[in-house]
Symmetry: C2
Subunit: 208 residues, 2 copies
C-alpha cells in the first residue's frame, strides 16, 4: 500500500521524502496518511530494489512534464546522477525508474486489499492503459456485487437490533452507489476508447 502510493506520486514528479508526504496528504487527505517512520524506510527499500533512484535537486523545482516517452526519462534520470551537491545529509530527491513504473502497474492491477486500497488505486489509475483501467474497475464491480448478494442472502435469518439494521441499510446503500459509480466509470472509459478509435472494421479494408 505504502509502496503503491509512493510510486504513484513519484510517477508524476520527482520529490524528496518530506515533500512527498505533504503532496500525499494534499492528494489523498484522510484516505491515506503516512508517517515518516514508515515513509523513509520505504523509500530506502524502494531504492535498494531499484524502483526509485536518487537524483540531484535541479535547484528549480519545475515539475517534470509528464511526457509519455519512457526512454527519454531513462536518459534523464541517468544524466542527473553525477554527484553535484548534497554530501552530508542534504535532501534526497527521488525519481521513479522504469522498473518502478512496471512495479506500479503491477500494484495497481493486483487486486488484494480493501475498499481503501481500491480508492488509492483509482487515485493513480491514470498510469494504467485504458484496458487495464477497465479491468480494475470491473473486478471491483464484481467484488462489490458479490458483497451485496451475500448481504441480501443473510438478511432476516435472525431478527436484528435496530442500530445494526440501520447500519446495514446505510452500508448497503453505499455499496449500491459504489456499484453505480463503477458502472459509470467503466462506461465512460469505453466511450473514451471508442472515441479514440471509432472504426468497427478491422484495420484492413478500404483506405479512404
Amino acid at each position: 500500500m505504502l509502496e503503491l502510493t509512493v510510486l504513484g506520486v513519484l510517477a508524476d514528479q520527482e520529490l524528496h521524502g518530506y515533500e512527498l508526504k505533504k503532496r500525499l496528504t494534499e492528494l489523498l487527505g484522510t484516505m491515506s496518511s503516512v508517517s515518516f517512520g514508515s515513509l523513509y524506510p520505504a523509500l530506502n527499500r524502494l531504492e535498494r530494489t531499484g524502483q526509485v533512484a536518487v537524483v540531484e535537486a535541479e535547484s528549480d523545482t519545475s515539475p517534470i512534464p509528464t511526457s509519455g516517452s519512457l526512454t527519454g526519462e531513462v536518459a534523464a534520470y541517468r544524466a542527473r546522477r553525477g554527484r553535484t551537491a548534497r554530501g552530508r545529509r542534504g535532501k534526497k530527491v527521488y525519481s521513479i525508474t522504469p522498473s518502478g513504473r512496471a512495479r506500479l502497474r503491477d500494484l495497481l492491477l493486483d487486486h488484494t486489499g480493501d475498499d481503501r486500497s481500491f480508492s488509492i488505486r483509482v487515485a493513480f489509475c491514470r498510469h494504467l492503459n485504458p484496458q487495464d483501467r477497465i479491468d480494475l474497475f470491473q473486478r471491483r464491480r464484481t467484488e462489490v456485487a458479490a458483497q451485496l448478494a451475500e448481504r441480501s442472502a443473510s438478511r432476516s435469518d435472525r431478527r436484528i437490533d435496530k442500530y445494526l439494521g440501520l447500519l446495514r441499510e446505510h452500508h448497503d446503500e453505499a455499496l449500491e452507489r459504489d456499484l453505480a459509480w463503477l458502472d459509470r466509470l467503466v462506461s465512460e472509459e469505453r466511450q473514451t476508447q471508442s472515441d479514440a478509435q471509432p472504426e468497427h472494421e478491422p484495420s484492413g479494408g478500404s483506405r479512404t
Copy 2:
C-alpha cells in the same frame, strides 16, 4: 477494536471462541473479520484482565435473555463457575463480566479510529444509554463535517487528474450522505427520548 467486537458480541450471549467468530462474521460480515490467531489470544487477555469469565456450557444453548439486571448476571456467572465438565481441553464458554460491560461502554465512547471502527461502534451501540449514543453520533458528525470542510477548502488549488477528481466527488457524496444519516440517527434518538418522558416540567407537580 478486536476487544470491542468481542465484548460487544459477548454482551448479548455467552459463547466460546469458535462460535464467537461465526457470530461475528454473520453480524458484521465484511466490516470486521477476525482470525483465530488473534481471537484466542484476545480472549485469554480479556480473561486475565477480568473482563470475561469462563463459564460452564449449560448443555442447552438458550441465549441469555438480555434482562437489564446487572446484579442478577453477576450472581449467574459466579454460580456457574464450579468445575462441572471440560477438563482436558473442552470448549471454553465465555461470559462478559460487569467490569467487561464497563469496558465495553468505554470502548464504545472512546472516539479514536477510522470509519470502520465507528461502524462497529454503531453495531453495538444498543449497549449505550440514549444520551451516550447521541454523543457518539454527534462526535462522529462533527468529524465528518470537518472532513468535508477541509476538502472543499483544498479544492481547485491545483488542477487535478480526472480519476482523482471523480474519486473525490464520489467520496464527498458519500461523506454528505453519512452526515445526513447521522443527523437522522440523532433526531430519531431524540424522538425516542422525548416519547419516553414527554414531560417538559421537572418531576415535581401533580401526580395524576
